[in-house]
Symmetry: C2
Subunit: 796 residues, 2 copies
């Protein structure tokens, strides 16, 4: 902040300035209405005719004038104090306002030159909105200055905090709608203030915009008294400042003074902390509660029904303008009430004195590089994975906890990127539980509430973000990535479903962003799903669900990757690879418990680069022709059980020719036309054969494997075992038995599927079945797995 | 409440009563520790030996003593005032406490007689906990008195309010953990007070249990000052009462007095409202903030590290009791500190004076029928669907909005069940938008904040629950169903993903409940997903996602059903059917826009009962042999496009033999071994042929159809089209074109797949391609679909 804040008297917006900001606001409102309604005649230079009006009126007015009001006032303070500021538009349907404002400030036409700053450009601006081949009605990737899609509500504030972390000069103005404020994720997001450090982070200025109504209802917060609102937000730890009213000039003066006060308070807090203040509690940041009418400045009444300041203004306040002359008259009067001739010059360009109100260059919120984070992104420095390699002399000889090894690698990423302060680890209170605890050798959990003498691994400057809300973790991380940084999210596998919908929306954001050349790539969002379905020993059924990847596999192929690495070294390769990618969502599934290690680092690298490979060391097929059976596996536990099954088969039926195939890049199972990583058909056919039985042990729901491979030649011979929703709190091996994914079931299935073998090997099947019975008895008596299972080792 | 509350002086718990309640609490704590640790020697009648201790210690102590403390005090007030009360245990790992308390009060042994009230039973009680074949470590369906699984956090309070609605005599004590309090859904749930009517509903008494720590972190709310907490909960609209401390007897006295005060306040509010009070604002209900140490009464320190009152007590406070004599000593001292000999008699039964503290019969929280809602459930009265039938003289001749018709049916369900007050409609502010508005002819949206003169369809006694939180809608509905009532949830299709994880957990609850004979069936949870992917005209990509059903299809077959009815009459049958089922989750997908109607009611009934059927009226195959192609469809828009494609094919290539198959019960596509509704293989083969091409137009992601049919004979000839994530704000028909699900693409695909036809019909393909081009030009110029598409009618 180059220009200091006055600390003496409250700021007063003089009349001339109020007049100007009001005209600017009117210009934005005019352009917003125009987008919703007009095909032509953008400046109303002739009377409005039916053919000027869009045949389908699709858009939302209600929230827009308030958003425009805020934008105009933020412009003023950006100029006054030379602020680095971005605008997050929480209200879902604020698209027309965001587009209008970026058009007014010039950033829109810079990105989309065909939407020029003249009459022809304004006509295009209007026409394209909610029109086939045009732009959506929300703030979206297409909208300059946006890092937040306004479709699904609830994530504005979490995105805002994510953007503010580690960016000390940034102010994120975040408008929260009162509809959105009813959602769970938003209600929890207010507590983000407990994780923001005034010394090293930027700041979020929340603006709760109460316009009182949703689609067809009052809002819960809109009908609360000021007293309750003040209590609520004081309780959340803020200092709420109220701006309420409907009379424009009073509101301009009130908003300007309140914004100045908020910025002054922010500045004071930052100065205090940056000059060595070390309060043992969170600062009380300001926030603004703005009460303004829904559909402000729009038609007061249509067909005798109240519209302004009511939910009827939510969408298109006056609907039949093409057919109904009275409605058209209401629209025309409404648009002319903004006096477009006072706003735009004869060429249709915003008048000079109004243009002068917008910030310039990268200070414009539509051109601020923070909202196109790829522009600011620095490559993440990563250490050599070989430095963390688990020594594996021969397959299965070593035991290790995969995620624990990964924790060491993550620790060193934190170290290597310390000076850039652009990497954080996110997770809901589970970093340690997920065995990534090595990161605490070099950093803490960030915590801004009281820290007590006996607390451990807790600090003001921690780079591990833990809060018991998957929504917050995901939202913060998205905001952090979208503003050009890097991160890593570890989560219990089952509970990642909590953010299914956020994942969906982020995938959509990426899909659209990648189609926009001006949007620069951002770092991928990488999940580690651990504490997975097969090892819920002390949690049970409620914690078992491996279905997140099914959702992921629905998304556009070039956006998503799914990796279930079989051991620690392959996990290292996968994590390292994922962290170096951009514009993707990577899902890694790996266990945290001690498990046998199969691949030395060199082999792991080769295996992971291939994505799917035959494990020759585990196979006993001859060099010529095809094996009798392919034992395929994906995921750490299924890999172990498959190898144990192969061990059983080789001992019991040595003449059997077995091929072992391991899958580490799950989407490589798809054909290449479906996914860029898809194995070519001929390679797939050679690997999985075209006619031999394939017994596939898979980590998750078995259907996914069928769905990925249905186009493959040998699909009819593919027999998949996975999680079939059996088992609760029990031993690790018993979980696999209950779901029939264990070594005995796999071996029996192989024998049953090989033509003619079942008759010859009936005694083997009998012996294996007896083992299953023995297991059942043992585990129920002793509460742990029988020694021959626990102590099993691969020894071929 | 039969015994009135004293209104004069604060309640004082006398010393004798405090001594008794303390012993009761100790007994529960003793049994909780025993469950976590002991295999044998349950009453410590000999010194603790390694073999008495479980080999794998899996359980959670930290939250348990607080839960036991609350339970003991709730028992006291239930007896004192003859209260109808249930206990919702929000903290995830409170299982040992809930089990211990239901065992102490006798309800556990009534349900599970083998866990008897003697030494042998106690030994079983201990052994079964977190043990293979035993019970999970959470409150779960297996736990008497529970309607809430303690696995995934966030839904306790929403469940509690759902249970309280329409049950005026019920008090739902809901313990919210401070970990859970950080989640989004819980943070939003506090606002449920704005939807609870003191005159007709019961009440929730929230008890925020701040024990300060999660797995490895302080909690956000635990570290907040009392002042901030008071502000926060006052802001939410409550009157927070604080109980804080660690000294047991002071805490007993404080808790008893506070509970009395809370109940008195509740009583006063209820009396006021039930005697005609009509305040234009919510009452300020009491809530309790209980601060007590995590791991209270457990080991203070282990291996020199602080355990009690810190996160180290979260799970198993002292871990190596089998191997390490010192640890075993800590455990033994800890258990003996409760003085089991003062608690249990020589037979291992709770001493008589302590037994007398528990309520009796159905007043015991473990035996209260509200927590086994099927016991209280009355059948829903439903009108005859024929009364709402859309007249369909011939297929396609009529147009109707399916959900609008359904709204009339729902309206009359509301009327028919008015006197039982056991049916509500839930949705996030979308009942009207989803065209179910007819319900407002007979009821309102319930609203307990201020109602203004110009508000419409808003009232204190409304039976439509609207809040902009899918989490709250789902949580309330679950609580309502679990306590024996009925409901209906309508939601935008894309945003139902917000509750993916809640759906998962409810499906798990049902799966386990169905295995427990004592749990009586509850009504099914029925979703209507509308405003679906194909008609997001003014929303666009962010609102497009038909993938919820993919998640649903992962669940146990006997729990889930998925229906995409093709028109209004079939929607009526499906909804009526779903509302009469129990212990299931039904997903109905149907559009809200005007669409052609295909089936008269009689035909719709026949079709829906079959689940999948050949539409003879749309087919032109001869009577003998197989058609050239099967045109299959599922969902309203795909059905329309399929019929339009068939129309094109029949006009262009009249000699082509076409069969039309429509699917209304999606899971019938699976084989019968996979799903009880699965079509038998021979029927399927006759319907879909064994070798002819099948062009399948499906509502959602095409993979689901492959996954459901991969075992079917003709799977290799199945070509599925569906949503492939293309399109944003555009016209309805353009959406289908962008995803290649439109009539032209379908017709071209059929021609291409019929052996030998492509060469002969190249000119037809060319004509169809030209139509696609024409469409593209038209829609981009006019912003609406070309007349020949808009006006198309089935006329065969």
């Amino acid at each position: 902040m180059r220009k200091p804040y006055s600390r003496s008297a409250p700021f007063v917006l003089d009349d001339a300035a109020a007049e100007l900001v009001d005209r600017y606001w009117r210009a934005a409102n005019y352009l917003s209405v125009g987008q919703i309604y007009l095909l032509d005649n953008p400046l109303l230079r002739e009377p409005l005719k039916p053919e000027h009006i869009k045949p389908r009126l699709l858009g939302h007015w209600g929230t827009t004038p308030g958003l425009n009001f805020i934008y105009a006032h933020l412009n003023r303070v950006i100029r006054a104090h030379d602020l680095e500021m971005i605008y997050i538009c929480g209200p879902g349907h604020g698209g027309p306002g965001m587009v209008a404002n970026t058009y007014l400030e010039g950033s829109y036409s810079e990105i989309y030159p065909e939407v020029s700053e003249d009459v022809a450009g304004m006509r295009k601006l209007f026409r394209q909105f909610s029109f086939p081949g045009g732009i959506p009605s929300h703030a979206a990737p297409e909208t300059p200055g946006s890092i937040h899609e306004g479709g699904e509500l609830g994530y504005a504030l979490a995105h805002a905090f994510g953007a503010a972390f580690d960016d000390p000069d940034l102010i994120v103005a975040c408008v929260v709608g009162d509809g959105e404020a009813e959602t769970g994720p938003l209600a929890a997001s207010w507590h983000s203030n407990k994780f923001l450090n005034p010394a090293r982070d930027g700041v979020v200025l929340p603006i709760l915009h109460l316009n009182g109504y949703k689609i067809a209802n009052p809002t819960v917060l809109g009908r609360m008294s000021d007293e309750d609102l003040r209590s609520l937000f004081s309780g959340y730890g803020y200092d709420p400042l109220f701006v309420e009213g409907a009379e424009p000039f009073a509101m301009h003066r009130h908003m300007a003074a309140t914004l100045e006060q908020a910025l002054q308070d922010i500045h004071a807090i930052q100065q205090h902390w940056r000059n060595g203040g070390t309060d043992n509690t969170c600062p009380r940041w300001p926030m603004i509660v703005l009460r303004s009418p829904k559909g402000w400045t729009g038609p007061k009444e249509v067909d005798g029904k109240m519209v302004e300041n009511f939910w009827r203004s939510h969408q298109v306040p006056v609907a039949n303008c093409r057919e109904d002359g009275n409605h058209r008259k209401i629209l025309e009067d409404w648009m002319r009430s903004y006096a477009p001739e006072e706003l735009f010059d004869e060429n249709g360009r915003l008048k000079q004195e109004l243009r002068a109100l917008a910030p310039v260059g990268a200070r414009r919120m539509g051109a601020n590089p923070h909202a196109n984070g790829g522009l600011l992104r620095r490559e993440l420095k990563t250490p050599a994975i070989e430095d963390y390699a688990v020594a594996v002399e021969r397959p299965g000889a070593t035991t290790a906890q995969s995620t624990k090894i990964l924790g060491q690698y993550l620790r060193d990423i934190l170290l290597l990127n310390q000076s850039h302060a652009n990497f954080r680890v996110f997770g809901p209170d589970e970093t340690e539980s997920n065995r990534l605890g090595s990161v605490f050798e070099v950093t803490d959990r960030v915590w801004m509430e009281e820290i007590r003498p006996y607390d451990v691994q807790l600090g003001r400057n921690g780079r591990v973000m833990e809060v018991l809300s998957e929504h917050l973790c995901q939202g913060w991380l998205e905001g952090y990535l979208l503003t050009g940084r890097h991160g890593f999210f570890s989560c219990y596998e089952a509970f990642i479903h909590i953010v299914d919908s956020m994942f969906n929306q982020h995938a959509k954001w990426l899909k659209v962003s990648r189609e926009l050349a001006w949007r620069r790539p951002i770092s991928s969002l990488t999940y580690l799903l651990t504490s997975h379905v097969w090892r819920q020993d002390h949690n049970g059924f409620s914690h078992q669900d491996p279905g997140f990847v099914d959702l992921v596999a629905n998304k556009k192929a070039d956006i998503v990757r799914i990796y279930p690495p079989p051991d620690a070294n392959s996990l290292l390769w996968v994590a390292d690879h994922c962290l170096k990618t951009y514009d993707r969502i990577n899902v890694i599934v790996a266990g945290k418990q001690p498990e046998p290690q199969w691949l030395a680092m060199e082999e792991a690298v080769r295996h992971c680069e291939a994505g799917i490979a035959i494990w020759k060391w585990a196979s006993n097929e001859g060099n010529s022709g095809e094996p009798d059976v392919v034992m395929a596996c994906a995921g750490d536990v299924p890999t172990m059980e498959t190898l144990a099954a192969v061990d059983l088969l080789r001992r019991h039926i040595p003449e059997l020719q077995i091929r072992v195939v391991n899958v580490v890049d799950l989407l490589a199972l798809q054909s290449r036309e479906q996914h860029p990583h898809g194995l070519p058909d001929d390679v797939f056919d050679r690997m999985f054969t075209t006619a031999r039985p394939v017994i596939f042990a898979y980590h998750g729901y078995p259907y996914l494997i069928h769905r990925l491979t249905y186009k493959r030649t040998n699909h009819d011979n593919l027999h998949v075992r996975g999680f079939i929703e059996e088992g609760t709190t029990t031993t690790p091996f018993d979980m696999t038995v209950l779901n029939e994914l264990d070594r005995y079931h796999l071996a029996i299935e192989a024998i049953s599927r090989i033509p003619g073998l079942l008759e010859k090997a009936a005694h083997v099947v009998e012996a294996l079945r007896a083992k299953l019975d023995e297991h059942g008895r043992y585990v129920r008596e002793h509460g742990e797995d029988m020694p021959e299972v626990r102590d099993w080792k691969w020894e071929h």
